[in-house]
Amino acid sequence: MENIKELVILIAEDDDGHAELIRAGLVESGVCNKIMRFSNGEDTWNFLSASKNQKPKDFKYYLLLLDIHMPQMDGVEVLRLIKSDPKLKEMPVIILTTTDDPREIEECYQIGCNIYITKPVDFIKFSETLNHLGLFLQIVKV
């Protein structure tokens, strides 16, 4: 239970509106985990590559909600870096993007994303999907 408590949701999203909508969606569907937001790929990666060296007592589990189209470093690049990093590759990554290009979807799955979701997000379905994956979010019934 402690592990679940410690699950932090990371949102990598360049569009403030989108980020706000995701956060609001999660909150409204009762998720009360800690949420961190990054507005580009580079920041996200920097945070993740720094966090892998954190001390065991500060260790946190992350769930990354990753947008693809972002300035500087795009989501696909971030995903690739994560999945090619032995320490980070176990981290669940959910692609949240406006693109429903099947080839792009396929590419992401090939790299190793857990779920690919196109915007706008239906958050009820979203949390159901997460449960199927075995990711138990801290849900507070409102």
């Binding site: 569009d15 509106g17 989108h18 909508l21 409204e28 406006t98 290009d101 915007k119």
Partner: protein, 955 residues
């Protein structure tokens, strides 16, 4: 003892008569005692008389009984006689039906009496004979007395023939009523023959006797001659005394004497007539042949008194006979041994042939016995032969010689040269035919072969377009085959055709040169002439003829004597030549004026048969223009020389075309010239090829640019549509949030104390105005999303990398149809897919293409009829056209061009869902496959979409 009946009765009768006479004198006056006594006596007598009569009657009955027995015996006897006698006995009724017959008669009919009874002659005999018998029966019955007739009959049981003497006796019953006719037939064949012979002899005898030259002798019962007439004595020169007794035998030729005496004595003892021939010495000393005929001599009382003989000098006849015999012998020899086939045919058609004849026809003598000449003659010849024989027989001709066909025993035909003559005697009575035959089969066959070949030749001449003529200038005799005339539609002429007419038939433009050519040969020294000229056909048109005339004979002075020539209709050739010239002209003009480079090549092989180079044999002006290589520097040169390369450019591709004959088209950047060419290679004949090359350097560059621009555009579109989507997500998301927030305000307001007016106003905003605003936002968002999705889809289609492969179109369409199965069955549609050829392309994209077309066909179906979709294909060179035809609502011709535009919808307000992208995607996919799409449609009738794709890889 009783006295003899007769005498007693007689006595009594005499007594009674006496008494009666007394009474006659004494009348009835008075009756005395005496009278009474007499009366009594009379009565007594009467009694006796009656007794006697009674006795007589008894005797008569006894006698009749005996007679009946005898009669029965006689009948039995008669029947056995009838059965056993060799005569035919029968009884017929008035109508001709048999009532009885004997066993001999049974044999005649070959049937049993029981079967014969009740039948008539018509049941057993042919009509002619039955008619004859019936007539005879009638004659006998009408005459009422027996009649005799004679006829030949044949026994049905063994087929032997007999000459019958028949007595036909009409039969009557007790009431004298005619009941029929009795026939008794006696076989008198032998008698008849004897009679015939006798008759002949009698004739002969009379002939001789009438000649008055008879030598007559008589002999007595002692066999010794007792008289010789003067003629005899004159003949022998002896006296009667010398001859009497056996003296005459002195004069008989010693060798003949024994035979002579023997005949005489044998006949004498039987008292039979005899006839003999012997040689008797003439008084001149020579022996002469005598015919001596002796007959028994009887006196008036019929007593045998010896013989009387008549002799005739038959020496001359004998000599002739002997000569004839010798001649016959000789003839027979000649006949039998001749190497020429000979036959004798009698008038009754009996055939006698010699060995040579038999050899020719293959039958043996025995086999020929049962054959007539008709049996061995070829069917077709029989009538002709028979007619000739008839003419000979009638005397119209004496003999005939003709060729005919016999049928050899082995079935083959034998041709013979046959001469036949009818032999007649001095009275001109025909005797028999003598026929000679010579086997001419081989000669005939050779003749036929020659005939065949002649016929064939004339057939060839008649059917070939060649006319032959022969001109004897000296006699001015002219001969030409029929074709000479018929080839120009004229009636064939014979004799001396007017050559000036023929000259006039030459086309005026050609006439002069023809005349000159002919005159050259006729007047001067030319050996032959030949010309082509137009000749006037009977139908008024001119036809090209080619004529060759050859001098075949010259006079000693060198002048042409005879010419032979041929005339051939070359109109077709001329026509073709003309066309060829035209076509060549066109072709070379085309060749010269083409903007494409055309070059002709020939492959060059090494000693192993590998193509190592090629020779340029021709090229056009464009070749020089584009490559800068002068024509004279290219023709006859090798590819390596002309282009200055180590290997001849494109040798591999060119050789493949030249060897396989399969044309090829490819484009290539030719670095040495820095040019881009589109090259078509074709092989007009083996190991040769022509290249038609187009300089597409500029075109290529433009295309390249277009491609780049298109790519840019697609990228731009992609990015733009993607970027447009992002704010849209916000608009949608925040609008939703706004909706929720509004609900929240409403909730808060309800639990808040506000004045009713403000509450009412706020309520109006939250429940009416804000939701209305949001509705507009949402519907716009949805619309915009659809547009963006469409753009995205289209741009994505353009961007997707193609994975080209051979596509099994049958499989692909089956898959597409399967994914639409639900909609198809929902609309109870029917999809008919024919066998489809494969094409080349990206199967995912093609799947998309056909899916869009199929779903359109379903979407735009005519709700009033059952949906019918037919998918078929046709080959078009190296492309395949797939055809998707539906019977839907169709497309107005005004919109048929626009349907391919993005977001264009023919029925924008209809309930049919659609993003207006489907056909744009179809078009884009087809174009990416170097293909095309188009539509043919009639509103209300349905649409037919055509998708043209490449058969082979184009990369």
């Amino acid at each position: 003892m009783k006295p003899s009946n007769t005498s007693v009765a007689d006595q009594m009768r005499q007594e009674a008569e006496k008494l009666a006479s007394i009474k006659r004198f004494d009348t009835t006056k008075d009756l005395t005692k005496e009278d009474a006594l007499l009366q009594m006596r009379k009565l007594e007598l009467r009694v006796s008389e009656l007794e006697l009569e009674n006795q007589c009657l008894l005797q008569t009955i006894e006698q009749q009984k005996q007679k009946k027995t005898t009669l029965r015996k006689n009948e039995t006897f008669l029947q056995s006689i009838i059965k056993t006698i060799p005569d035919l006995i029968w009884l017929k009724d008035v109508a001709g039906s048999y009532m009885a017959c004997n066993s001999i008669f049974e044999r005649f009919f070959g049937a049993k009496e029981a079967d014969i009874i009740g039948k008539t002659d018509y049941d057993y005999l042919d009509k002619e004979l039955a008619d004859f018998f019936r007539n005879r029966d009638k004659i006998a019955m009408n005459a009422g007395i027996p009649t005799i007739n004679e006829e030949w009959i044949t026994f049905a049981d063994d087929g032997h023939k007999v000459f019958l003497e028949t007595i036909k006796t009409p039969m009557y019953d007790a009431d004298k009523k005619l009941i029929g006719v009795l026939g008794i037939g006696r076989d008198i064949t032998l008698r008849k023959e004897a009679e015939t012979k006798l008759h002949e002899q009698e004739v002969q005898y009379h002939n001789l006797a009438n000649s008055g030259l008879a030598l007559i002798w008589t002999s007595g019962t002692d066999k010794l001659c007792n008289y010789f007439n003067q003629t005899w004595l004159n003949f022998t020169g002896s006296t009667l005394e010398q001859e009497i007794g056996n003296g005459w035998t002195e004069s008989v030729y010693p060798e003949d004497l024994d035979q002579c005496i023997d005949t005489y004595i044998t006949a004498f003892e039987k008292q039979e007539a005899f006839q003999m021939e012997y040689r008797l010495r003439h008084h001149s000393g020579e022996y002469r042949w005598i015919l001596d005929m002796g007959t028994p001599n009887y006196n008036k009382d019929g007593e045998f008194i010896g013989y009387i003989g008549n002799c005739f000098d038959i020496d001359e006849r004998k000599l002739i006979e002997n000569a004839l015999k010798a001649s016959e012998e000789k003839f027979k020899n000649v006949f039998d041994n001749s190497i020429i086939g000979k036959s004798i045919t009698t008038l009754d058609n009996q055939l006698h042939v010699n060995a040579a004849f038999r050899k020719i026809i293959g039958y043996s003598e025995v086999e020929l016995k049962s054959k007539s000449w008709q049996d061995i003659t070829f069917q077709e010849d029989i009538q002709h032969n028979a007619e000739l024989l008839k003419k000979i027989l009638s005397g119209e001709i004496n003999s005939a010689r003709f060729e005919k066909r016999f049928i050899h025993k082995n079935g083959s035909l034998v041709w013979v040269d046959l001469s036949t003559t009818l032999l007649r005697d001095d009275n001109n009575t025909p005797l028999f035919y003598i026929t000679e035959i010579i086997d001419i089969t081989e000669r005939k066959n050779a003749q036929f072969a020659l005939q065949d070949s002649n016929e064939r030749l004339s057939l060839i001449l008649e059917n070939s377009p060649i006319a032959i003529w022969d001109w004897d200038l000296e006699t001015d005799k002219w001969f030409a085959t029929q074709k000479y005339y018929s080839m120009l539609g004229y009636e064939p002429e014979s004799g001396y055709p007017d050559r000036s007419v023929w000259l006039s038939r030459i086309h005026p433009d050609d006439r002069k040169q023809v005349q000159i050519k002919i005159e050259n040969v006729l007047e001067r020294t030319g050996e032959a002439y030949a010309y082509d000229a137009r000749m006037l056909h009977a139908d008024g048109t001119y036809r090209w003829h080619s004529v060759i005339g050859q001098v075949v004979e010259r006079n000693p002075d060198g002048k042409t004597k005879r010419m032979l020539g041929v005339r051939v209709d070359i109109n077709e050739r001329k026509y073709i030549e003309e066309k060829l010239r035209e076509s060549e002209g066109k072709l070379s003009a085309l060749f010269a004026s083409m903007t494409e480079m055309v070059a002709m090549h020939e492959l060059v092989f090494d000693q192993n048969g590998n193509a190592v180079n090629y020779l340029i044999t021709d090229c056009n002006a464009a070749f020089t223009n584009i490559t800068g290589i002068e024509r004279q520097n290219a023709i006859g040169k090798l590819g390596t020389e002309v282009y200055g390369t180590t290997d001849a450019p494109y040798l591999e591709q060119y050789a493949q075309v030249a060897i396989t004959g399969e044309s090829k088209e490819f484009d290539s950047f030719f670095a040495p010239m820095d040019k881009h060419f589109l090259i078509s290679v074709i092989a007009p004949e083996r190991n040769k090829f022509a290249t038609i090359s187009t300089d597409v350097t500029t075109l290529q560059q433009i295309q390249q640019q277009i491609l780049i621009k298109n790519k840019e555009l697609e990228d731009y579109l992609y990015i733009a549509s993607h970027d447009l989507r992002s704010p849209l997500v916000n608009i949608q998301g925040f609008s939703q949030r706004l909706q929720k927030q509004t609900d929240k305000i409403k909730y808060l307001l309800e639990n808040c104390e506000t004045d009713p007016v403000s509450k009412l106003n706020i309520d109006k905003v939250t429940t009416e105005e804000i939701p209305k605003t949001l509705d507009f936002i949402f519907s716009s968002v949805i619309k915009m999303e659809t547009l963006i999705n469409g753009l995205l889809q289209l741009s994505r289609t353009g961007r997707i990398k193609m994975h080209n492969n051979k596509v099994d179109m049958n499989k692909l369409i089956a898959k597409v149809v399967a994914t639409h199965n639900f909609q198809i069955s929902e609309s109870s549609g029917n999809v008919n897919v024919e066998n489809l050829p494969d094409c080349y392309g990206d199967d995912q994209q093609l799947n998309q293409l056909f899916s869009n077309l199929l779903s359109n066909a379903i979407k735009y179906r005519d709700k009033n009829k059952q949906l019918q979709i037919k998918i078929s294909a046709t080959n078009a060179f190296n492309k395949i056209i797939y055809i998707i035809a539906d019977n839907g609502i169709g497309i107005d011709s005004r919109y048929q061009e626009k349907i391919w535009n993005i977001f264009y919808r023919t029925h924008p307000q209809s309930q049919i869902p659609g993003d207006g992208v489907g056909l744009s995607v179809v078009k884009q996919i087809a174009e990416r496959h170097y293909g095309k799409v188009w539509v043919e449609s009639e509103e209300g009738q349905g649409s037919t979409f055509f998708v043209e794709l490449q058969k082979n890889n184009w990369e």
